[in-house]
Symmetry: C2
Subunit: 220 residues, 2 copies
């Protein structure tokens, strides 16, 4: 089954940067005092079965597995301490891979210009099927994993998020309202790295030692 | 008449930075060798009559008047020299104000982090009514203007664009496909500056010495 409506209903994809301490270290980045975020265009979403991630010529292409939140209603100026309101505003989840042209991003960082191109190529957001909320009782207690050609590359718990989901949704919604169908990426744990043409990425999520079947991504 | 469908049909707003030489100078920026771009979320669009631009607390809020293109069809990998293809892909135009939290943007530039918050607050994209293509025979020969409290602040011809529309659409579409309803902002001429609470911005466009009536913006 294709993800029902994730792309069709999505008007923006908001992504948190640097939300896991060990990932910040591996890229020699500075730990942020508050969450910061960027946008990927909805046109970058790659649904299950839509086939390979494009490798723009000469680009150092990195994977970043992330928990995606699919918003269920409008959220504006959410108070930071409204954990229940934050969780209630989420309609469901997905596993996603925030593909990143790392060299393009590094150049943008040096020049102080936007990350948009580095993050926004077509196919740069492989996403799983829609995961119903009931399958993830606690989004802060989920094991995310990603393999390349069968080798483990990322495997960590969402409990390691520096800024938890209510804080993330609060920060975003105090700048830009979130709308039904918007997608929020919550950051990647350590282990990011390069993929070459022909590599196969698989990703997924586990709850209490069990795979969530609908959470699988397999993409060339 | 409200802009028919500009917001409703918009999935992304792609904005070109630094596309007029005198504006680059006034902000002490480096002239880019090729166009770069960033995204504003559709949720930042403020249609005619939707009332004032919000001033986030403590922010140095700047206006930037720009010609907006409303895309009429999907564009992917447009060749740089396909001027006719570029113009044919445009359904219509609008005048827009790319509101910018200048201090937030300067901090982001220094830190090498995204411009998203600086550009993406709710109400940060006042837009005019939809301007039919027939009203603008040549988008590179249009006078854009903006006043604050009745005083001229920006008034320049789109003939001054460093990268003309076909080049801009080519660069964007080689990264991310443009889709019907997407909005492209083509950069701001010189004269950007601060607005305070209570200031009234007016903006518009002239062709051959005549105002385009549907192009007017008036916003507090
Ligand atoms: Mg990421
Ligand atoms: Mg967007
Ligand atoms: Mg601008």
């Amino acid at each position: 089954m294709a993800s029902p409506g994730i792309v069709a209903n999505c008007r923006k994809v908001v992504c948190i940067g640097r939300n896991y301490a060990d990932h910040i270290k591996e890229l020699n980045n500075v730990r942020p005092k508050k969450p910061f975020f960027f946008l990927k265009p909805p046109s970058s979403i790659l649904e299950p079965g839509q086939g390979p991630v494009l490798r723009p010529k000469g680009v150092n292409l990195h994977y970043e597995v992330e928990l995606a939140l699919i918003m269920g209603r409008q959220v504006q100026d959410l108070p930071e301490d409204d954990s229940q309101g934050a969780l209630d505003s989420i309609a469901g989840y997905a596993v996603s891979i925030d593909m990143t042209a790392r060299d393009v991003q590094e150049e943008a960082k040096k020049k102080g210009i936007p990350w948009t191109a580095a993050k926004g190529f077509d196919t740069f957001l492989p996403i799983s099927n829609y995961i119903p909320k009931s399958a993830i009782p606690d989004p802060h207690n989920l094991e995310l994993w990603l393999t390349v050609n069968g080798k483990d590359r990322q495997r960590d718990s969402t409990s390691l998020m520096l800024f938890r989901i209510p804080r993330v949704l609060s920060e975003i919604s105090r700048v830009m309202k979130l709308e039904e169908g918007d997608v929020v990426l919550t950051g990647t744990p350590k282990g990011v790295g390069k993929v070459e043409v022909g590599d196969v990425m698989r990703a997924g999520a586990m709850v209490g030692g069990e795979e969530i079947e609908g959470a699988r991504i397999e993409v060339g």
